[in-house]
Symmetry: D3
Subunit: 208 residues, 6 copies
């Protein structure tokens, strides 16, 4: 991974508010515990609106929002499994995620008594993120489709359930642009837990 990641969001963005003033941000970075306490005090005050953990929820700054993703990938409901891209470098790597909710269409069947995200859909999500890496934004005419060619060393480590944010990273290990074949190392996390990993082979084809 290069240091010059022009298109990426800085890691700090993960904990930023959407439109935060710089001053507030540096304060938050400097004294997290102080800030947390302030919130508590406010919550206990009379007449003050009770707030706390809920305003420190995640708000991941998007490099690519869903509309841009939908302009790149041909996948649509109920088979579009990437919600946001956080970091991206053409032909190199990407970090993105899918929010997992009980309202995902597959949970009624997997399983009625116990909601677990199907492992194969985690792989699909990683592959969709992988496909986004392979589009050259400088080549607008390049209309492409991605097909899955193969998967190696796929392992699932932990169940993924509603309420999880499936954070994924794909790193290109080989990219034969001439034949449109791309190999990637893909990993999916929930928090710091590795939940799925695999080596993916994607094939790029010109669209009809």
């Amino acid at each position: 991974m290069q240091a010059t990641v022009a298109h990426s969001c800085s890691a700090a963005a993960l904990t930023q508010r959407r439109a935060a003033a710089p001053k507030q941000l540096s304060q938050a970075a400097a004294k997290p515990s102080a800030r947390r306490q302030a919130v508590r005090v406010r919550a206990e005050g009379e007449g003050a609106p009770a707030t706390g953990i809920e305003t420190k929820g995640p708000n991941m700054t998007a490099l690519k929002e869903i509309q841009e993703i939908m302009s790149i990938l041909p996948h649509r409901y109920p088979f579009l499994l990437v919600d946001r891209v956080l970091e991206w470098e053409y032909g190199k790597y990407a970090v993105g995620y899918k929010c997992v909710t009980i309202n995902d269409n597959f949970f009624p069947g997997h399983f009625p008594q116990r909601a677990i995200m199907p492992g194969v859909l985690q792989v699909e999500a990683m592959a969709q993120l992988g496909g986004i890496i392979m589009i050259d934004p400088a080549n607008a005419a390049q209309q492409t489709n991605f097909f899955f060619g193969g998967v190696d060393n796929l392992r699932w480590r932990k169940p993924v359930v509603p309420g999880d944010v499936l954070m994924m990273r794909c790193d290109v290990t080989k990219f034969n642009k001439r034949f449109g074949i791309c190999k990637m190392s893909a990993k999916a996390y929930v928090g710091e837990d590795l939940v799925c990993e695999a080596e993916l082979t994607l094939v790029m084809q010109p669209e009809k």
Copy 2:
């Protein structure tokens, strides 16, 4: 809001890994910037697995996971809109969230050209969280249904889109247990941004 919140997850839990070892946690808390740098170094090293932002994604520790929520609420797919409860005190308040994904069943229709979470479903999500507050876990025989009675001062502040984590807080302002009427102040956030707020009136009825 009382200081003694026996059933709540501490705010710190938000940034905890699921099954993190204590030592690692304290390290992470002590030197976040150091840790981040270490990751970068590792990513740039030869042969080392490239990792970074993706392992610092959110992993919100659940006080109530989806299976417990489904044992409390009668709502089911496609109308169950709370994925996890983070804090909860009977008859007092709750903090919980819904993951918003392009795979939510309502996005194909709202709207085909632009995915925006319907505002009324944010209100429904807050009301479902509110309903969870009203169940007394010490009274197992208390089988109840919640109906929406009314809403006041409902305002939407910002659009909610796929990839957002809709973090909600409901605080009971009046709870007439005899008549089963409960008023709540409800707020929904994406990160630190307030996206929706309302005063909810829920009515509790014994199930037939």
Copy 3:
């Protein structure tokens, strides 16, 4: 409400057949009780086809059928909740309805044991009807989107269930065309029963 409602269907239309010949219509209007009795006689006759209540079912003449509604509203399945507009005057008011059926996609989840139309979807339906009021048919170039800004004094009075026809009326109370903000008084009925009422604030935005 003005007497000169050029675009509205007369109240009598409610009981009219779709393409009825004028003569038959005037007969029906003139002697409803006579006609009803005739049917009974026929039903009791030998060899006669038994008919009765079923031909006196409702057939509400549309001012705007679903295809026109879909050309105005960007909402689509499963989030388009107005089936027909009966009366309409630009910037003033509209009367329209949604048929409620067990085949509505939300009933499997709300609730598995008891089908009740979610209250928030009644509000959404009223807001969609409200949005239709705000389109100026004389200004074809005016491509607009409607967003919900807020709701006040929302009350639900009775449950709405499959088989109900949710008849709605929205009356504009304030319409600031310059800022695209519109306030409306909205009511929903099942028969003569008021089931839901609210003050809606809609915001009109130019489409991207």
Copy 4:
């Protein structure tokens, strides 16, 4: 059809409010035109709530509501197509209806450019109503399934579209209880328009 229909709703019920006071009802029956005018006057008055056509919308009194229908028929979403039964006599006939809404799950596919209720689903709806006729409420142990055996002389007369109330009547013409074979004459109306008619053959089987 017999005059003694103990289980039926009177024809007048069609225009009744749900919980109307007897006095109001007789007034409404006696002077419909007077009443309609009164509404107009009220609507034009200052400060008065503008009301009109919307409170004269249909509200068909149910002999069997959806919950009872679901206890009789094994059909479920998305293939339960009767919302309410208005008249019913065991082994003789029934009148019931389905509300048709753009939110019916089949409209996205039939057709994307023009919403028309599939004709075969009108037949299915009539057959489901027919099945309800064949259950003997006095024989609670009689657990039965209905299968479609055949259809003759099926004709569709007019398209059925969202916003229509598909009012159906099935009259048993032959009922061989020993072999569980039942022939019915079925008709479906929208208002006074006959939209579909057929001769149905249903077969009743004991459930496994």
Copy 5:
């Protein structure tokens, strides 16, 4: 039915592989039993990949694949019920089929305890195949819609369940091109079992 069926697949195609070399095909045709035995021997060999019945599964050569069908019929999910056309002659007849799977969207409701393909959807599938017969490929400008006009002598013979391949044949018996009315004899089979038959009347209309 004419002997000159220029557009049809030969009956032998049913057992052909998709891109089989001619030599292999003639061998297979000549010595089916020999070939079957060879497979068994291989399966019992050491280190040999175990194969058997699974490579003799059906692979029906398409005259019209789904993409072409979707360019002819306006039907879409969840109401497109023909997967492939095997034989076809304009204005004369067609043979095609629908694969029936537990993943068909109607099975959750028909019935929860026992998956049976609704009989009316078999009729719809036959009618869709019938519609394909009526398109003149030589008249590209002929944009048409098909509506169902009527059905006679419809009989269901056996239940159709997941895993069945519903093979259908429609033969035009009368085709009044001037009025766009077409009568057809339609049959549906599972293997050699006739499961449904009917006389269909289709009406062709110019698209708006």
Copy 6:
């Protein structure tokens, strides 16, 4: 693969009719070409019902029909991807298939312009077939769940489209009953074409 496959259907069953008379079957087996010709003659005869390829469609005799599969697997719509099991031996192997239809719920999203079965769902289908192998029918009390542990050497060879019958075979290569870990060699075919293959690792867990 052993010669003694007590629970399997013979390969010949593939071409059998469901309830064929023995005599007809042996004739068909003896003289397929003669039989085919007879059909043609009949088809060309005057007044004779035209029949042909459609009665030679596949009808795969089930060892396990969908109801039995649903009693074994916890998967449900829209994530149950095995329609029928043709051969099966506990702890050894199974042959089964899924019918692929344009009405499969995933096709609207994969892809709107071109219906291709997602590769990961082929893997899921093979894994579900694999799970069926691991149930001991002699041990009724053995309530188990299957989770996917990993996949190796996964390759997709050809696209699978609506109208295909995805015929699958799983052969157990290692079965550690004590730890509930099972490795399988899985292959999927459309006709004689290998479309997908992989080494699957399934993990069996007692149900909570």
